[in-house]
């Protein structure tokens, strides 16, 4: 250090001598204009010379320059600023962050890249916009923000959303890979949403190829916060809100039920039901929903000095479920430390501790939808009314279930994620970095099954009212423990050099291994003599004697990966960009001969706006054309060892009273099983125009998955016996468009609007060359077939209702169709309705995803509106198809056909008319929706006034989330599950996504 300073002084001195000009010494401080934070490392250059200086840790610089000269201040990520010296000896400067995002750095696999140098499709979402949202899971906050990303939120407390990147490219697992500070993860539940620096969504094969066979479904890279350079900071963020279900499913009340059930019995020719004792009119949904609390709290303390920086974060999130008495609590503590031993050696580590506790909802939503409204709730605290005989065996009293199931479990987990790294720079251009990571999870469940409730069976006809109690139900306790272990190591060597000022080369080679292991242990004991108290202190297996009926089980799993990787980025004059990656991956999941695979990509970019001929073309500020090709594997989430002939050993043969173990093959093994291969090409352009106020990214992609891993039920032969093998191809083609407009009006009013949309077309190119059958999902409702989109809805198309027997003669019908039945379209025109008249009815996957963010600021005020939606998909109202008992009716059935001219949509009330339960467009609803995702208003108090009381910044905000959703679906939410690619889109009482109204505070000290 000393030597360098002397050297610099010597240089300056030499310059002085050479030019013999009148130089003065200038000092000052370089800060971030927005925050006032110092910018250590900012460079100060005397314009037109090579001389200058660098700001120290406190942002202070000293240079010697001609009194009439000009200083150029620059720092990565900030706009360069030129200031004329004009004989001043003190010049303080605040640098503005570079709104052009020209130097915006994006996290890519195993490194960072300037956004301008990217050749693939990566969208970066700032942590701040995630922290602003009142969500417990950070992924929820990505909804609507990224073109090509589909997020399906669950309203259940603590549940992770379903995330899809660029459609569905597999018939098995389609979840993306998460890479959190380098660690490969399948979920990021353990992160405090307020402690995230950025999330990068990597979509195209060239960006994800570096992740090899786990990257095929896309990658989301999460970077947690680091200490801001320069000083000690304390930040506190908190929000508290209430969640409310704004949309309930319209079911009939007691009067409506009586009317409809009477009509149904009449249609069945059955005797009328005796309602005499059933005087209730219970809205079961109202009884199981609650206004629920949600709160997110985060405290960060960071300190950064010359030699080290430290960040400590504490997070506490609690979400009550909107279904009683669902509850999820999340505690996160994290420490991040980096020590700079000298300019060339850095070591550091990160440790996150995570603890969660949850209580599952006490009752299923369908229970409340199904229960007859004519039944009163309860007679006294432990005496409930049971359902009428027509549903008694199948449907329980929802409130009895709720109260019996609540508070019977101590369900919690602990997770520790830690990492250590060392980074050494050597020989000027080389950097070697080694990291080791671990992630250890421990889930622990103790639960209790109480005695039965007492029920009143109301009298029906000759049956008198009586009270029953099931004395055969005995108390039992269970304990479950799960352990997850992950060990990962990454070693990379990077070379970066610029030759002849024009050729910039960055090369990276690396080696990495990953191990995932798990163990599971559970036990249950039922006490047949004593009643174990309903008190968590007793809920251990030992409370019941080992001679009691007991059951236990244990299992485990191990998988490992090993990879070699490399990447070269080359740019010529910053204009011509080449990016090539390679990864060789080995996985223990596959047989030794199919274990290793090679993946890679090539990307090309051309910054047209840097060309001479382009310089004068206004209004463009920046234009880049890019194209990329890549091949990547998709084997994430695939069960291990499927190439081995697995056995089911849990079935038992009985002879007399003797129980014998048995074996049967668990599936038909395919020794050649390998991962899916995803290949794709992207072409796109990035542009900024009108003084960088407008920006746009447009990407076209064409991606094909080869050798899709399919689980086949062999038709007509094996029943529940499946064959998992590689078959066929699926393609996804689409376009993604993101735009932005930032401007200000006057000095105080700023605003921006950034819409995005994407379109994806999915097509099954083939499901195997020799295989003459198709894949059915959800009982044949979803079909996967060559030439159509994956898992499309396949059935009859409703054209009306047969109004009369005359109608039946005129219109094509089934041989057993009757008036009041659904009339279907005669697709093949043969004059009768047969299974051949079924056809494509739509896809469960939205083709269109769109979202937009509007933000505005005026002095201390800021406002944010986010909208989001999907279009092009259908939702299957499967909850309406249950016929296993007489269930409560949804209000659409009030319009059921009851004679000629009464309805042309709703069939007759008769659940024994099988034709009306065939899957048809009658059970489909358009899945398009448009949602006001976020509306937020904030005020930031001026810092001068606050500074006096030690507060650097204070922002208060109110916000509403999901405050309005416009859709034509009848369920709680238009977002039906997309979890299973071949059986998606069914609404079986999908959990509501509640509206959240919250108040937030964000203070920095």
């Amino acid at each position: 250090m000393m030597k360098r300073t002397l050297m610099l002084l010597f240089c300056l001195f030499t310059v002085n001598l050479l030019f013999a000009q009148e130089n003065i010494t200038i000092t000052g401080k370089v800060t971030d204009a927005a925050t006032g934070d110092p910018l250590p490392g900012a460079t100060v250059q005397v314009k037109g010379t090579t001389s200058g200086g660098v700001a120290d840790v406190s942002g202070t610089y000293t240079v010697s320059a001609p009194a009439t000269g000009t200083l150029v201040f620059s720092f990565l990520g900030f706009v360069d600023q030129e200031i004329a010296i004009n004989n001043r000896t003190t010049i303080n400067v605040g640098l503005a962050t570079d709104a052009k995002a020209l130097e915006e750095v994006v996290v890519v696999g195993y490194g960072v890249q300037r956004k301008r140098d990217l050749t693939g499709s990566i969208t970066s979402v700032e942590g701040e916009s995630i922290a602003k949202q009142p969500n417990v899971n950070p992924l929820s906050s990505l909804q609507g923000k990224v073109a090509g990303l589909t997020v399906v939120n669950s309203g259940q407390a603590g549940a992770s959303p379903t995330v899809r990147i660029r459609g569905v490219n597999s018939t098995s697992n389609t979840n993306p890979l998460y890479v959190v500070d380098g660690v490969f993860q399948t979920n990021i539940d353990y992160l405090n949403p307020a402690d995230i620096e950025s999330m990068e969504v990597l979509r195209d094969p060239s960006s994800i190829a570096i992740f090899g066979l786990q990257g095929g479904n896309g990658v989301i890279i999460v970077t947690t916060r680091r200490a801001a350079k320069g000083e000690t900071r304390i930040n506190f963020q908190s929000s508290v809100g209430v969640q409310r279900v704004n949309r309930k499913i319209d079911v009939v009340d007691a009067g409506g039920f009586r009317r409809l059930y009477d009509a149904q019995l009449t249609n069945l020719g059955a005797a009328p039901f005796d309602y005499t004792s059933y005087t209730g009119n219970t809205n079961w949904q109202d009884l199981i929903f609650q206004d629920a609390l949600i709160t997110n709290n985060s405290l960060s303390i960071s300190n950064s000095g010359e030699k080290s920086s430290t960040l400590i974060n504490l997070g506490y999130n609690e979400q009550e479920g909107v279904v009683k008495y669902n509850n999820y609590k999340k505690f996160v503590a994290r420490i991040n430390e980096e020590i700079r031993i000298n300019q060339n050696i850095k070591i550091g580590g990160d440790l996150t501790g995570f603890h969660w506790r949850q209580q599952a909802p006490g009752v299923g939503l369908n229970n409340a939808l199904w229960a007859a409204p004519i039944v009163p709730v309860q007679a006294s605290e432990n005496l409930y009314y049971s359902m009428p005989s027509f549903q008694r065996a199948q449907v329980g009293n929802p409130i009895a279930s709720l109260n019996r199931n609540t508070g019977n479990a101590v369900d919690q987990g602990y997770r520790v994620v830690g990492s250590l790294f060392a980074e050494v720079k050597f020989l000027k251009d080389f950097t070697v970095r080694s990291s080791v990571y671990t992630d250890l999870g421990f889930n622990n469940l103790r639960s209790y099954s109480p005695l039965a409730n007492r029920f009143i069976n109301l009298g029906e006809g000759t049956a008198a009212t009586d009270t029953t109690y099931d004395a055969l139900v005995r108390t039992s306790v269970s304990q479950t423990q799960q352990q997850f272990r992950k060990f990962q190591q990454d070693h990379t060597l990077t070379y970066n050099k610029t030759f002849n000022e024009k050729h910039n080369v960055t090369a990276l080679v690396g080696f990495t291994t990953l191990f995932n292991g798990s163990t599971f242990l559970s036990g249950m004991r039922r006490d047949t003599t004593l009643n174990i108290p309903r008190d968590r202190n007793f809920w251990y297996l030992n409370v019941a004697d080992a001679s009691m009926p007991l059951n236990n089980s244990g299992s485990g799993g191990e998988e490992s990966y090993m990879s070699f990787l490399g990447r070269i980025n080359y740019s010529f004059a910053g204009k011509y960009l080449v990016n090539a990656t390679f990864r060789r991956d080995g996985s223990s999941k596959f047989s030794p001969s199919n274990r290793w695979g090679n993946f890679g990509s090539v990307g090309l970019g051309w910054v047209v706006s840097d060309e001479g001929f382009f310089q004068d073309i206004n209004p463009f500020d920046f234009l880049k054309l890019r194209a990329a090709w890549g091949t990547v594997g998709s084997g994430l989430g695939l069960p291990a060892n499927l190439y081995l002939p697995g056995l089911v050993t849990s079935d038992r043969a009985v002879f007399g009273e003797n129980v014998n173990t048995s074996v049967s093959p668990a599936y038909v093994p395919d020794p050649n099983l390998h991962w899916e291969v995803v290949r794709g090409i992207d072409v796109g352009l990035d542009l900024r125009a009108l003084d960088n106020r407008f920006n746009a990214e447009v990407t076209l992609y064409d991606r094909t998955t080869k050798d899709i891993l399919t689980s086949l039920t062999l038709p007509g032969t094996a029943g529940n016996y499946t064959y998992r093998t590689n078959l066929g191809n699926i393609s996804n083609r689409g376009i993604e468009v993101s735009m932005g407009w930032n401007d200000q009006i006057g000095d105080d009013f700023t605003y921006s609007i950034s819409p995005n949309f994407s379109y994806n077309k999915n097509k099954v190119e083939s499901i195997g060359p020799n295989l003459e059958f198709e894949i059915l999902g959800n009982g044949g409702v979803n079909v996967t077939r060559t030439g159509q989109s994956i898992g499309f809805f396949y059935g009859y198309e409703q054209v009306g209702i047969y109004q009369s027997t005359a109608d039946l003669d005129k219109q094509p019908s089934f041989t057993n169709s009757l008036p009041g039945d659904i009339a279907y379209a005669d697709k093949n025109g043969d004059g009768v309705i047969t299974p051949a008249d079924r056809g494509y009815l739509g896809t469960p996957f939205p083709n269109w995803n769109f979202g937009s963010t509007f933000s505005a600021g005026y002095k201390g005020f800021d406002a944010l509106v986010e909208i989001q939606g999907v279009a092009g998909n259908k939702v299957y109202t499967q909850r309406r198809t249950a016929t296993f008992a007489t269930l409560n009716y949804e209000t659409n059935r009030l319009n059921a056909w009851s004679g000629p001219g009464t309805s042309n949509i709703e069939p007759i009330l008769d659940n024994t008319r099988a034709n009306n339960y065939l899957f048809s467009s009658y059970f489909l609803e358009p899945g398009d929706y448009f949602r006001f995702r976020t509306v937020q208003l904030g005020y930031t108090f001026q810092s001068e006034r606050m500074n006096k009381v030690g507060i650097k910044q204070l922002r208060l905000s109110i916000s509403g989330q999901n405050i309005a959703t416009f859709s034509r679906t009848s369920g709680y939410t238009p977002e039906a599950s997309l979890a299973d690619p071949i059986a998606s889109g069914a609404d079986n009482g999908t959990f509501p996504v509640p509206a959240i109204y919250s108040f937030g505070i964000n203070a920095s000290f």
Binding site: L265, V424, R474, A640, N720, F884
Partner: protein, 515 residues
Amino acid sequence: MKLFNKVPRPNSIVLLLLAVVSTLVSCDKDFLDRAPQGQYTQDNYPYPGGSGPYDQYIFGAYSSLRDFNVHSQSFIAITSIRSDDADKGSTPADGGANAIDMDNFPVAVNNGFANAMWTGYFNLVNKANIVLDQVANNEAIVATPEIKVQSEAEAKFIRAYAYFMLVRVFGQVPLIDQVFADPAAQANVPQSSPEQVYALIESDLKFAAASLPMSWSPAFVGRATSGAANGLLAKVYLTQRKWAPALAAANAVITSGQYSLNPSYDRLFREEGENSSESVFEVQATSSPAFPDANGVQYAQVQGVRGTGTWDLGWGWNTPSENLEAAYEPGDPRRTRTILYTSKTTSPTEGLTIYGEKTPLGLPNPRYNHKVYTNPARRAAVNNRFGHWFNVRVLRYADVLLMYAEAANELGNTAEALAKLEMVRARARAGNSSILPPITTTNQAELREAIRHERRVELAMEHDRFFDLVRWGIAGPVLRAAGKTNFNENRDILLPIPQTQIDLSKGVLKQNPGY
């Protein structure tokens, strides 16, 4: 870009890195070898030697006999609710179209019970084929030729049992008699004619009859025997109206000396009557306090009394019909042993179970199947009311005697027919000479009617009635007379091939006529 004053020694770092990497690479083999944890594969399963080397696979097939799709709801709906013996039961709308259509016809192509039976019984076929594949191809298993033959025989018995159900229910079905080397080849086997299916069933059962033991040690009571194979074979022949082979097969059971009628028709259907001297083949089930249902079958639960509290014994399906009630001769004690009446008044002598309990008023159905009524003491012992322990009586000696009588009468051997018929009636009479007088007619047609009547009341609710009506060629008139006016013998003697299976096959499977 920067000047260094302390340049680390690069060679040592690079060497260290290379050393680390090469160490890691060299252990690649171990690192990437991850065996399944806590799970066997076919290659490392320690096949127990004691009970026979193929027993574990054979037991896998026996285990499937208890499957819900094999001997529970769909089985009961298809074999019994379709017949004139039983009504659907439960509450009017319970089960929806799936259930009502089984009672009233026609059955829709998307009927869930039809598909359940298809998958359940083809799973049995597959389990049997796996055993045969192990016997033929697993060289790791060392076994004597005798054991190999016996294991093959047991698998063939189960395969024949499954195909006999499939061919009677669906008519033309794919004939799958092996584990295909290429699973994709197994995907789309076209249907064979019923004659071809019956040929496989007959050859399987002949093999089984010749190679299975007459009986098993007490530890394996209930495994397939040569008697079971012959008894089933008799029914297979009878179904095809092959009277002489049917007589011979039934005679082989009778002359084996292994079987006799249980003196008490009542005890036969109690828990203590399981695997009695009359049992030719029974699906075995049991319950314990720790496993009230895992080792059982839901056969009794589906038909159990649909009450509340202690009377919640099941779902109340498959209730004996009025038509069946009327079929009994006066005083036949088998009537109340087959039909459990629901109390209509508070009279203490009305609606009693075999254990003397009075059924409650107001149950949704007037009658329940008394032959699946479980012992209350057993319910209390396993803390469960649903009778998962209750064996399914598939084939019993009385059935074999009546099959013999039927074949003998058709062949003109009236004396033999009368003798076997009288054995069954005598047992039912239980010493009460005022009821069920011996049949004495020597007119073949009258005797045929008498045997058919006896089959109906002796074997009521035991799942043969519908198939009997079909093979006698009288299903149409009888079922229509019993109120099933939609019944059309040109269509309804077979169920539709499930549309799901036709879809899966991409149309290779063809629908049955009339659907």
